[in-house]
């Protein structure tokens, strides 16, 4: 893929942003409709409503039933799906080029006139509750969930997108409607298209199906971050006893949002620590000590303050060694600047994988649409790469020692012996 890819960007009369990228490599058009919403906009007591709304969104419009929609999509072998993440809601579609206008029209119908039928809300609500319970089957999910709650308290980032059992069990069709009306508005929406299609035609197709959409605009404010992340940092240790073969150990810190000047340096740092076979955690804790199969770092890109996590899955008897090992590597990046070689390999890796992450039409449509909905704009693609090249080891050191100065939150999932070991080591 070339760097000089031509990205067309326009805003329709009703405020809807359109991005079109021509890529004729395959007879495919992919589109991502992103809505500035996601679980971030969920009100207190409504955790999971974004997920539920997106699950029911494709299950009926004013004129079509759930099966009508499924048959329309599946009879032409197209993909049409919805999702809700922390920062946005998503309708994604992929078709052979000739089917694109009809599938986009269907997607527009779903976005503009959903009917949220009672029985479909009830079905998906029950399945969402089951999904929340099933998450407990995966030790990693449990550990990560407990850690996020410790970091975020009541902010929606503290919950998995599925929401809480308490909230979802009380959820009604009216809640789904209320959430939809709060966040679905053309001025908060981006339609991003990539594939074998003339950008002018792509934009005209969007104009055709979305141009006359002018719903009234409700007042809506996302909840403010709970004080937990912004002040009064209180590291917690959360332990969840489960009869697992392996213990999951996680250390986590609050970290900068994508809008922070520290974002790029933290991305480089998480790459250095946790990305790939030559990363610091992999070499020190897996290659040299054989402690883990899965050992890595997580630093998600978020509108509100994010989090920085290092973790591994290890034998229950290794828990103490694992925590000390992870902490030692964090301490090291706070005390010593990366060498020139370490910095270069981290940058090359980050930029190389960044390039590999925008190969397919769906990836391209997603990336540029996402930058738009995050409020960064499509230029962020280039800005990010330029910034990576400029970050120095001294800047990373300063940011690391600032972010990781206090003890981390610790989350542990494992059998009783592992938990006992942890308690013994804490005393």
């Amino acid at each position: 893929m070339t760097q000089s890819r031509n990205i067309h960007h326009t805003i329709l009369q009703n405020g809807l942003t359109v991005i079109a990228i021509e890529n004729s490599a395959a007879d495919i058009v992919a589109s991502r409709i992103l809505i500035n919403g996601g679980s971030r906009f969920e009100q207190t007591g409504k955790a999971g409503v974004a997920h539920l709304m997106s699950a029911v969104l494709t299950k009926g419009t004013d004129c079509l039933s759930s099966q009508d929609i499924a048959e329309k999509v599946e009879s032409i072998g197209a993909n049409l799906g919805t999702d809700a993440t922390t920062d946005y809601c998503l309708v994604g579609l992929k078709t052979v080029s000739s089917d694109f206008p009809s599938v986009l029209k269907l997607a527009a119908d779903i976005v503009r006139s959903p009917s949220f039928p009672d029985h479909e809300v009830e079905l998906e609500r029950r399945l969402a509750l089951q999904g929340i319970r099933s998450m407990r089957e995966q030790p990693f999910s449990v550990a990560y969930q407990n850690l996020r709650r410790a970091i975020y308290g009541d902010h929606p980032y503290g919950e998995s997108g599925m929401g809480t059992e308490a909230a979802v069990s009380m959820m009604t069709r009216e809640d789904v409607w209320a959430y939809y009306r709060d966040v679905f508005h053309p001025s908060e929406m981006v339609v991003s298209i990539a594939g074998r299609i003339d950008p002018e035609v792509a934009i005209a197709t969007v104009e055709d199906v979305f141009g006359d959409w002018n719903p009234s605009r409700p007042e809506t404010n996302p909840p403010i971050l709970s004080s937990k992340t912004t002040s009064g940092y209180q590291p917690q240790t959360v332990v969840d006893v489960q009869e697992t073969m392996q213990a999951i150990v996680m250390l986590g810190y609050p970290a900068a949002s994508v809008h922070s000047s520290e974002y790029t340096a933290l991305k480089i740092l998480s790459t250095h620590l946790g990305n790939g076979l030559s990363s610091r955690l992999f070499v020190e804790l897996r290659e040299k000590l054989g402690l883990a199969y899965d050992v890595s770092a997580i630093y998600p890109t978020r509108i509100d303050p994010s989090h920085f996590v290092v973790y591994m899955g290890t034998a229950p008897t290794n828990v103490e060694t694992a925590i000390n090992g992870l902490q030692k590597e964090i301490n090291r990046v706070c005390q010593q600047a990366l060498t020139a070689g370490e910095l270069q390999i981290a940058k090359n890796k980050l930029l190389g994988q960044y390039a590999l992450g925008k190969q397919t039409n769906a990836q391209m449509a997603q990336l540029f649409g996402w930058y738009e909905v995050l409020g960064l704009g499509v230029d962020f693609d280039q800005i990010f790469q330029d910034t990576v090249a400029k970050v120095t080891a001294e800047e990373i050191l300063a940011i690391a020692s600032h972010h990781f100065a206090s003890p981390p939150h610790v989350s542990l999932v494992g059998p009783q012996p592992a938990v006992t070991l942890l308690k013994a080591s804490a005393e």
Binding site: Q67, S75, R136, L277, G290
Partner: protein
């Protein structure tokens, strides 16, 4: 052994200390990794084309001249044991392995690729070196390169880098697939303490790669059962009667015997009823040919899925390498033509032959309180 060896390949050669290869590839901004299935092990690197020579040279050095150092063997075994523990904490993996064991019995397809703690502890570095010399030979190896490269130059590069294979060791036993058809339903139950819902897993043996066309027919039948919201089992069991949380069907092509599965996640109370309904729907597939409009919908889905999954160099390299390992690369492009050629009656006959509702293996997982 094959999977553990895949890990040990990355532990270097006389020329390369452990970790050197990873360092080289990632310094170029590339990605390297590997995976092992029952039919083959696969190693891949994804780098910008100007680094091809360096990448290929390093990869061939690892693959042809892995030294498998004793002390690394012991250390890496701990890593594989962690991989195994992680898998054992996943109830879907546990159920699937038990299902494979009852479907394939003594054949290696019936065993987990990861091995067991006992089998891993019983292996020595010497045995692994033997295994490596036996299998990592030119006639077993396919090198696939996809990207912005020149053909002749690239072929020369492969000729130059993939030379000096280790002396050959004679292969040991081959395992025949048990081709005794199941005479009845082989049903097993397992209780697990950490699960929040029951699972019903059902499996049928399908044809091997020598009956490729028939195998693709089973791919279509799998989509007919659960390839989307309008597919038969999803529509009935999830959407209308609401007896399951999710239902899926999967067809996987393997060299000696492919595998057809139906899986459902559900309340334990519904297990019997759902298994009976799935049996009835299979009977219908074996008795009544589907309508042309239904068939054309499934064809379209599969052909588009095929097109959608061949966009990147990485996907194409994986596809060509896979087919060349289990048969030959050129058949990888015949898939859409095979799929389009099916008639409803032919599919009915295939269902009758392979997907008997009276002969299959089933694995049931129930939550323990």
């Amino acid at each position: 052994m094959a999977h553990f060896l895949e890990h040990m390949i990355f532990k270097g050669t006389e020329q390369f200390p452990p970790g050197h290869f990873d360092h080289v590839i990632e310094t170029c901004g590339g990605v390297a990794n590997a995976a092992t299935s029952h039919d083959y092990a696969h190693f891949f690197i994804n780098v910008a084309s100007q680094y091809l020579e360096e990448g290929l040279y390093s990869l061939s050095e690892l693959l042809l001249r892995a030294s498998i150092p004793d002390e690394e063997f012991v250390r890496e075994r701990d890593v594989v044991l962690e991989e195994l523990r992680q898998a054992q904490d996943d109830p879907d993996w546990v159920g699937y392995q038990a299902l494979m064991e009852s479907t394939y019995r003594a054949h290696p397809y019936g065993r987990s690729v990861l091995g067991t703690e006992t089998s891993l502890m019983g292996r020595s570095p010497d045995e692994m070196r033997q295994f490596h010399r036996m299998h990592y030979q030119p006639e077993n190896m396919t090198v696939v390169i996809v990207g912005d490269v020149e053909l002749e130059k690239t072929l020369d590069l492969v000729r130059k880098t993939f030379t000096g294979f280790s002396p050959r060791v004679q292969p040991t036993v081959q395992y025949p697939v048990s081709d005794i058809p199941m005479a009845h339903i082989h049903r097993q139950e397992m209780g697990l303490s950490r699960v929040e819902q029951a699972r019903l897993l059902m499996a049928w043996q399908g044809p091997g790669i020598d009956h490729l066309h028939e195998a693709y027919g089973l791919d279509l039948l799998s989509v007919a059962l659960a390839g989307g919201r309008s597919a038969r089992l999803v529509r009935e069991l999830r959407e209308e009667r609401q007896l399951v949380h999710a239902v899926g069907s999967n067809f996987s092509l393997q060299r000696e015997s492919s595998l057809f599965t139906v899986s459902a996640w559900l309340d334990p109370d519904h297990l019997d009823m759902v298994e009976a309904i799935i049996g009835d729907r299979l009977s219908e597939l074996t008795e009544t040919a589907m309508s042309d409009s239904e068939l054309s919908r499934y064809k379209c889905l599969l052909c588009n899925d095929y097109a959608f999954s061949t966009e990147t160099a990485n996907q194409l390299a994986g596809l060509y390498g896979y087919y060349n390992t289990i048969a030959e690369a050129k058949i990888s492009t015949t898939y859409p033509a095979h799929i389009q050629s099916f008639q409803a009656e032919e599919l009915r006959a295939l269902a009758q032959h392979y997907l008997s509702p009276q002969r299959y293996s089933a694995m049931i997982i129930k939550p323990l309180d």
